[in-house]
Symmetry: D2
Subunit: 367 residues, 4 copies
C-alpha cells in the first residue's frame, strides 16, 4: 500500500506534525487524485490553528492548492468549464462544493450558503480515508463533484496560489457590491484580500482607488497594483485622521464605495464614515468571528448607505479569476505575492511567517 | 396688519407657547399662503422638543400638514403633478425642497441628501418673517419651489395626516430595499413608520408580514392593516426569543427582508439575525441619533446580508403615497390612526400624548 | 403486466389516438409513478398538434398535470420544498428539470436555458418505456430528479391546473421585468398567460392594470381578477386606437410596464408604443415562433426602453405560484378558469375547445 | 454693434452659407459668451443637413464645441462641478439642459426625456438673437442654466472634441446596460460611438471586446483602442457569417453584451443573435429614424434577452467623460480621432468629409 506525507494539525496552537497516510487504492467514479505542486497559506489557516473556528481535528490544512492529476476516477474527463481533463494536467479547484438542490442552492440562488458545503483544508478529518483532503500534503484527493479547473500553460502556478482564495473572495464581494464604472473606491486592508479587491476595482474602471493599510511593503505592493493613493495606518494612526484623508481625496464627499478587507470590527464604523452619502460599503474581511464593536446604526440611515456582505465564492468566480489572472498578469502580477517558499516539513514555519505578516504569501512546495 | 397664532417652541423641554405673528402682507412669486386644517404630531417632534436635534430656536413645529390655499403668489398655478391650483384647494406638501442642481441632486441622484434642504417645522426660525413655516399654527407659508399636492376630494384629510411623513418614509425605504413579490417580511416597530411599512409591504405582494412591537393596541391596528403574525415585545421580552419566533414562522431560515422602524440601536443586531442568509435589512427608524450598540459585523459577511439606509423622501414618494392612500383606503384605513385631536392651544397635550404612545396619531386642528 | 391508457399524438394535425402501454414494472431510485387526476390543455399543445414545434413523434401531450403518488422509487421521500412525500399524496411538478451543472445552470445562473432540459408532454417519445411521460394519460411517470411539489389539502386541483404553466411563466417573466410598486401596467392578451400576468401585477401592487384582449368573456374574467380597465380588441380594432386609449389612461405618458402575452409579432411594436419613456416591455408570449413583423428599432433608443424576454420557469416559481394560489384564492380564483372538462377518450374535443378559444381552460379528467 | 460670423444651414441639402450676425450687447444673468476654439462635426449633422430630423431652419449646426469664456453673465462664477469659472477659461458644455421639474426630470428620473430640452446646433433658429447657438461659428452664446465644464489644462481640446457627443452617449448607454466585470462584449459599428463604446467597455473590465465594422482604417483605430478582435464587414459580408464569427470567439455561446452603434435597423436582429442566452443588447445608434426591418420578436423570449435603449446623456456623463479622457489619454487617445481640420468658411467640406466617412472626426477651427 502506497503511503504519502501530510502535515497534520492534531491540536490547536500546537505544532503541525508530519504524518504518513495510505494513498487511496481506488479512485471513486468522478473523483481524482492530484500530486500537490504548491499549497498556499491563507490567513484563515492561522485563525484555524489558533482554534478560532469550531472544527473537528485532526485535519490537513490548506485550501488554496495547485497540483497535477495523478489518477482520474471513472467518468471524470472534463473540467468545470468543459475542457478535457487528462492525467498530468495542472489543476486547481474550489475548496467547497454546493449540493445544487437545497433551499439556498436553487430557491434563493445563494450556493455559498448551502448547508452541505464542507471545505478542503478545514472541514474534513484526516484520520479517515481518503485522508488527503487538504493542501499541506504530497497528494490531494478530489472527491466526486469537486469543481476542477485545468490551468492554462501560460498561467504560472505562482499566480494561482499567489491570488489564492483572496482573489475569488474579492471578485464575489465586488460583484455583490456592484461597483460602477469610474467610481471612487477605498480599500481598507492591504493583505491578500485587499490587494485582490484593489486589482478587481482598478480593472473594473474605478476612477481612483485609495488603499488604507500597512506595513509599508504592502502599500508598495498596492502601488505596484495600481493604487492611486495609499494611507499608511502606521502613520495616520487615528480613525478620524484616516476619514479626513479620504474625504480630502474625494472632494469632501467620501468615496462611492468602501471595501472592508481587514477583519477587525473597528474597521467597520470607520469605513462607513468614509462613504459618501448613498455610497456602498462591503463587509468582506469578516470570515472569522472577531468580536464586537460599538456601532451607531444611524450612519446607515443618515448616509443612505448600502451595505453588503459576501461569503466565500462560487465556481464561476474561480473561472473568471483564472481568466483574469492570465489576461492581466503584467498589470496585476499576483505571482509576485509568493515571497516565501517552504518544504512540507516546514509547514510550521510557513504558518508562522503568515501569522507575523512577514510574507505577502507563504507557500508550501511539497517536492 | 393681520395677525395669526402659532404654537412656538422657544426652549427645549419647556412648554410650547401660543404666540401671534403678522401674516405676510405680500406673497412672493411662486409662494402660497395656506390656512391650516390639520397638523400631525410626529414622533420626531418629541425628539426635537427634547433637544435631540441640533437646531436653532424658536420654531413652529409640525411637518405633516394639510391646509387650504388662501393666497397664491404670482406664477403658481399648478401643483407638483401639473394639476391646476386655485385658492380654496385643499393641499399638502413636502416639508423639504431640494435644490435640483448640486452634487447630490444631479450627479448622484440623491436629492434627499441635498445640503440645501431645510424642513418646515424643523429648520426655520419663526422670529423672522414669514414666521409661519411649521404646522402648529393657523396658517402656513409655502415658500417658492415648495412641492405642493392638491388633495383629491375623495381622500379625507385624516388619511393624509394619519399617514403623515411615516408613509412616505416607508415608501422610500422599501423602494431602496427592493422587496420582491411574495417575500417574507418582518417589521420591527409598530409605530406609524412600522404600520406604514406593513401597509406598503402587504400591498407590494409580501407573502407574509410579521409585525414585532407593542403595545397591544398597536398590534391590533397592525392586524387590521393585514399583519399575518404579531410578536408582542411585552410578551416575548428577550431578543433571542423574538429571533426564534421569527425563524419558526419562516421555515427556520429567517425572513427575506427585515424592516427596522424602531429607532433604537438594539433593534439592529437583533433584526439582522432575523434575516435569512442573503436577506435584506433596512435601517429606517434612525432619523435621530439614538446612540450606539455592541455589534458584531461578522453577521453581514456570514449571512451575506444586504443592508440599506433611507433618509426622508422625495416628492415622487408623496405623489405615490397620496395615490395609494386614496386607492386602498378600505384595506389600509390610515384615517383611523387619527385617534386624538387637539386645539392649537393644546399643542403641549398633543405632544405629550404622542410621547406617551397613548395615541396612534395625535393631530392639531387649529380653528 | 399491468397496462394503462394514454391519448397519443402519432402524426401532426391528425386526431390523437387512445393507446395502451405497459406500466413500468419497476420504479427507478428517485422516480415515482403518479395516477393522473387532472391534465390541463395548454395553448402550446395546440401549436404542437399543428406541427409548429420541431419534435419527434409519437408523444403523450400534457405538461400541466396533477396526480396522486402511486409508487415511490427508492430514496424519494421528500418533495422539492423538503416536505415528506408519501404514496397517496396529491402532487404536481415542473415539466422540465435542469442539469444543475452546465454553463447556463451554474455559470450564468439561467437554468431555463440548460441545454439538457426535456419537457414532459413535449420532449419524450411514448413508444419506448416508461411510455407515460405526458399528462393525457391515466398515469404519469416522474423520472429521477423531477421537481415534485406536494399540494396542500386546502388548494383544489382545479386551481393548480387552472393556473397551469401560464402562472409560472408569468411569475418568471414579471420577476425578470422587475415591476415597481404602484407601477401602471398594460397586459396585452387575455389568455391564461395574460390573466396570470394580471394577477401577479395586481398582487404586486400595480396602481393600475389595463388589460387589452378579447373575447368579451375573457375580459369579464380579467375584471373579476382585478383589471382596472379593459380594452376590447373587437371594439378598438386598430393599433393606433389602442395606443391612444392607453395614453389616455396614463396621463398621456404611456404605462410604466407593458407585458406582451399574445404571441403575435404585431403586438410587439404596438406594445412598445404603449410604454412611457424609460418604461419596460416584456416579450412573454413568444414561446413558439410566430414569424416576423416590420419593426423600427428607433423606438427603443428614443423611448429609452428596457425590454425583457423570459422563457419557461424554474422550480422556485412553481413553489411561489402554489403558495400564491393557496393564499389568494378569493381574490384570484384560478379554479374558475377550468370551464370545460373532458374524459381521456375526448382528448381531441379538449384540444379543439382550446384551439377555438371556447374555454378559459379545458382539462382532461382520466378517471 | 460687433458682428461675428457663423456658417448657416438655410435649406436642407443645400450648402451652408457664411453669414454675419450681431453679437449680443448684453449677457443675461447666468449666461455666457464663448469664443469658439473647435467645433466637431457629428454624423447627426449630416442627417440634419439631409433633412432627416424635423427641425425649423435656419440654424447654426454644431453641438460638440470647445471655446474660451469671453464674457460671463451676472451670477455665473462656477462650472457644473463647482469649480470657479473665469473669463479666459477653456470650457465645453452639454448641448441640452433639462428643466429639472417635470414628470421625466423628477418623477421618473429620466432627464434626457425632459420635453423642455432643446439642443444647441439643432433646436434653435439663428435668425433671432442671440443667433449664436451652434458650434459652426466664431462665438457661442451659452444660455442661463447651460451645464458648463471647465476643461483642465492637461486635457487637450482635441481630446474633448475628438470624443464629442459620441463618448457621453456611449457612457450613458453602457450605464443603462450594466456591463459586468469580465463580460464578453461585441460592438457593432466602428464610428465614433462604437469607438467610444469600445473604450468604455475595455476600461470597465470587459474580458474581450469584438469590434464589427469598417472600413479598415477604423478597425485599426479600434485595435489601437484595445479591441481584442475585429470583424471587417467588408470581408465578412453576410450577417450569418458575422454571427458565426462571434460565436466562434465566445465558446459557441454568444457574447454577454452586444452594443449596437450603427444606426441601421438591419444591425438589430443580427446583433441579438450574437448575444448568449440571457445576454444584454443595447440599441444605441438609433438617434435618427432609419426605418424598419423584418424582425422576429421570439428571439427575445427564446434567448431571455435584456434589451436597452439610451437617448442622449446627462451632465454627469460629461463630467465623468472628461475625467476619463484626462486620466486615460494614453490608453484611449481620443485626440487622434481629429484627423481633418477645416476653417469656418470650409464648413461644407467638413460636412462632406464626415458624410463620406473619410475622417475619423472632422472639426472646424474658426481661427
Amino acid at each position: 500500500m502506497a503511503m504519502a506525507q501530510a502535515s497534520v494539525l492534531e491540536n490547536f496552537e500546537t505544532p503541525l506534525r508530519l504524518l504518513s497516510f495510505p494513498l487511496p487504492e481506488r479512485i471513486e467514479a468522478g473523483a481524482a487524485l492530484v500530486r500537490t505542486e504548491m499549497a498556499g497559506i491563507c490567513g484563515t489557516d492561522v485563525h484555524i490553528w489558533k482554534g478560532q473556528l469550531p472544527i473537528s481535528l485532526p485535519i490537513v490544512l490548506g485550501h488554496e492548492t495547485v497540483g497535477r492529476i495523478e489518477q482520474l476516477g471513472e467518468g471524470l474527463n472534463r473540467d468545470w468549464t468543459g475542457q478535457p481533463l487528462r492525467v498530468g494536467d495542472r489543476v486547481t479547484w474550489n475548496s467547497t462544493t454546493s449540493c445544487g438542490q437545497c433551499y439556498y442552492c436553487v430557491e434563493k440562488r445563494l450556493p455559498t450558503k448551502c448547508p452541505h458545503r464542507r471545505a478542503y483544508g478545514i472541514g474534513y478529518r484526516c484520520d479517515e480515508p481518503p485522508h488527503f483532503l487538504g493542501g499541506y500534503a504530497q497528494f490531494h484527493y478530489l472527491r466526486p463533484r469537486t469543481n476542477i479547473f485545468r490551468i492554462p500553460d501560460d498561467l504560472p502556478t505562482e499566480s494561482v496560489v499567489g491570488a489564492g482564495c483572496a482573489l475569488i473572495t474579492a471578485i464575489h464581494g465586488i460583484e455583490r457590491t456592484g461597483l460602477a464604472w469610474r467610481d471612487t473606491v477605498v480599500v481598507q486592508g492591504a493583505g491578500p484580500v485587499g490587494i485582490s479587491a484593489l486589482a478587481v476595482a482598478k480593472s473594473a474602471g474605478a476612477a481612483k482607488v485609495i488603499m488604507i493599510g500597512g506595513p509599508r511593503t504592502r502599500l508598495e505592493l498596492a502601488m505596484r497594483f495600481g493604487a492611486d493613493h495609499v494611507i499608511d495606518i502606521g502613520e495616520v494612526t487615528d480613525p478620524q485622521g484616516r476619514i479626513s484623508a479620504v474625504r480630502d481625496l474625494t472632494d469632501g464627499y467620501g468615496a462611492d464605495a468602501v471595501l472592508e478587507c481587514v477583519g477587525l470590527p473597528l474597521a467597520v464604523p470607520e469605513g462607513m464614515e468614509m462613504c459618501r452619502d448613498g455610497g456602498k460599503y462591503l463587509v468582506l474581511g469578516h470570515y472569522c468571528d472577531a468580536g464586537t464593536v460599538l456601532f451607531n446604526p444611524q450612519v446607515i440611515t443618515r448616509k443612505q448607505l448600502q451595505v453588503f456582505g459576501s461569503w466565500s465564492s462560487e465556481p464561476r468566480h474561480l473561472k473568471t479569476g483564472l481568466d483574469f489572472l492570465r489576461a492581466r498578469q503584467e498589470e496585476f502580477p499576483f505571482h509576485t505575492l509568493v515571497t516565501h517558499r517552504f518544504r512540507l516539513d516546514q509547514a510550521n514555519e510557513a504558518l508562522a511567517a503568515t501569522a507575523r505578516w512577514e510574507s505577502a504569501k507563504s507557500v508550501i512546495v511539497p517536492a
